[in-house]
Symmetry: C2
Subunit: 367 residues, 2 copies
């Protein structure tokens, strides 16, 4: 292989695909980036077998070929070649990659690409088209609620469910549940897939043009998007997802409406003192106000936030972090809290639409 | 004590002085911030006995008094009260600080201020006046070369030497030496002081108005500056500083001039591969160019940078980090390298003035 590329193109491409490089794999190939030159295009590929990113850039080819180079090192190195106009990439007989630029030459150890995994890009099975901003909001308002630990792998993914033109994204970790619904522009049919939350986070980094649309393709057991000559694929998680609708109460004894920012600020202050006490904050819900309080040996906070209550007074406690996560992503001036008892789940919804639902389990108070 | 302050004033002040709070001290008082209300001013003080920061803000006083509150906690809490117009601070009979704002009230444990260290602000001994930008540049171009470890405490400080209107700042750590000279606007007399580099770094954060001047006061065994109602003091280091002038060679066998950015970029690329090899990069100095190279099992870099040589060819190796540190702070298009042998110190100077000198010890190549 011998080819010529622009420094900026190469750096951008390598630093995009490097996100999929495996950090510690017994298979050395997975710590590499595959570079593959055919016709007037150079294809860069990285995969850790869960996610894969492939990016195509233009090049001037003197000899076709491919190889796998150390991923992180190649990314760091090309980052420092951004300002170089022309870079020659040359796979030598001895297997090394020779990089020639501005009268200098450097060499990286490379491996044969023969055993590198093939990234499947089958014929489309099912797909939907959605505004990039809408898809990003959907992911941002739910994926943080996925489980972080490996005890139940299925909970490390989000459930994506498409019915008609309504796309629902669900995440839960055993302590809280986030559900968001958005409308898609067009779709080939209904879909149900569990996507690793890490993959969804990488997708939000790839789709940068808020007003543009993106096509999301669900294949046999993978999800794929293709934006700006970058193809991103991720393996889907297999197994049964929890029947989350069963967890959401059908009726409530206590419901209140509150200004989101006012409550957010109060809970943030209360959580500073709650840090040493397992982040526990208490809500004392009264007719016209809620007392947000926290106690620790360093002091205590007691804040008074105005509310509109329907139903009974109630005292309930939460892990402040779980409440803050939700108040940060709801994009509405007012929000509604829906509760039953101090030990029953609390449901938070946006006041102006039904797009979003967040459920938290309370913490039992020892008193 | 009972007083009323503006949320923004309080947050700014507390978050400025908290930098001097001790992180882990057997003396609990040093983890606190002293708040002291007299007349229409509230004084906030923090010290870890090496550095001290004191800031005065306006307040409306109902009862004078003082107390010491948990530093980090108070800083974090007041940060979240920035948008509150009026905050009442009230030391209660039981010693707690009551904070009243927007209809809410919180309490922090507080300690008596009786045993809190007194920050000495003696009558001026010696002082000089320097442009803030100039003082910042002086510190930024030298203090990074101070020693980080405790084996020779004196090397954790910079030597500040004022003779006439010429201020010299010196830092060295046994592997490299940085010397910078700047002119002061006025001075009461000659000065020689060793200032902890950490204190100098904090000073650069406090002086924010580049075009303004700052007065630096050297007292018995401390240095003090006073900007915008913030008084910063630091203990000086005691002991003999190394006679650094003896280390600098008087003549050179090899001297070359090089474009700073070109060399910087080459060394940065070489250092990516040098990382696994103790950061060692090699310079092969020839008549019209220098080869910058590094070798590792992952590959090797060999870059060609144009130079103007006077004297003999030379091959010499350095820890790339030490060279990069210097090339980052010299503010000149061209720089001069001055060398003698592969095991003798290398001196780097700016090409257009004599303000700056940087000396590095080379690394011995095993060949």
């Amino acid at each position: 292989m011998k080819t010529m590329v622009k420094g900026m193109d190469l750096s951008n491409a390598v630093n995009k695909v490097v996100k999929a490089v495996s950090t510690r794999s017994p298979n050395q190939l997975l710590e590499g980036i595959k570079i593959s030159c055919h016709g007037d295009t150079l294809t860069l590929t990285a995969t850790d077998t869960e996610i894969a990113i492939e990016k195509v850039i233009r090049c001037e080819t003197f000899m076709e070929g491919d190889a796998v180079v150390p991923g992180k090192l190649f990314a760091e190195f090309t980052k420092k070649l951004e300002d170089v106009e022309d870079i020659e990439l040359n796979i030598l007989q001895d297997g090394r990659l020779k990089i020639v630029y501005s009268g200098s030459e450097s060499y990286l150890q490379a491996l044969s690409a023969d055993e590198y995994p093939v990234i499947k890009k089958d014929i489309d099975r099912n797909s939907f088209v959605i505004k990039q901003k809408t898809f990003k909001d959907l992911i941002a308002s739910t994926s943080f609620a996925c489980s972080q630990d490996d005890s139940r792998p299925i909970l490390k993914g989000c459930l994506l469910e498409l019915k008609g033109d309504e796309l629902t994204c669900v995440a839960l970790d055993g302590f809280r549940l986030a559900v968001c619904k958005k409308t898609v522009k067009e779709a080939t049919g209904d879909i149900r897939a569990i996507v690793p939350s890490r993959a969804l986070t990488e997708i939000t980094r790839l789709i940068e043009k808020d007003e543009d649309y993106v096509t999301v393709v669900i294949q046999e057991n993978s999800l794929m998007i293709d934006v700006d000559n970058t193809v991103f694929t991720t393996r889907l998680l297999e197994g049964e997802y929890i029947d989350y609708k069963k967890i959401v109460p059908q009726s409530y004894l206590t419901t209140f409406r509150v200004n989101r920012v006012a409550l957010f600020n109060s809970i943030e202050r209360a959580s500073i003192l709650a840090k040493v006490m397992k982040n526990i904050i208490k809500l004392d819900i009264h007719e016209n106000y809620v007392d947000v309080s926290s106690d620790s040996e360093m002091g205590n906070v007691k804040e008074n936030v105005l509310i509109n209550l329907e139903g009974k007074d109630l005292t309930i406690a939460f892990n402040s972090r779980y409440v803050i996560d939700c108040l940060r992503v709801i994009n509405d001036e007012f929000i509604n809290f829906n509760l039953n008892t101090p030990i029953a789940p609390c449901v938070i919804k946006s006041n102006s639409d039904d797009e979003y639902l967040y459920l938290i389990l309370p913490v039992r108070l020892n008193q």
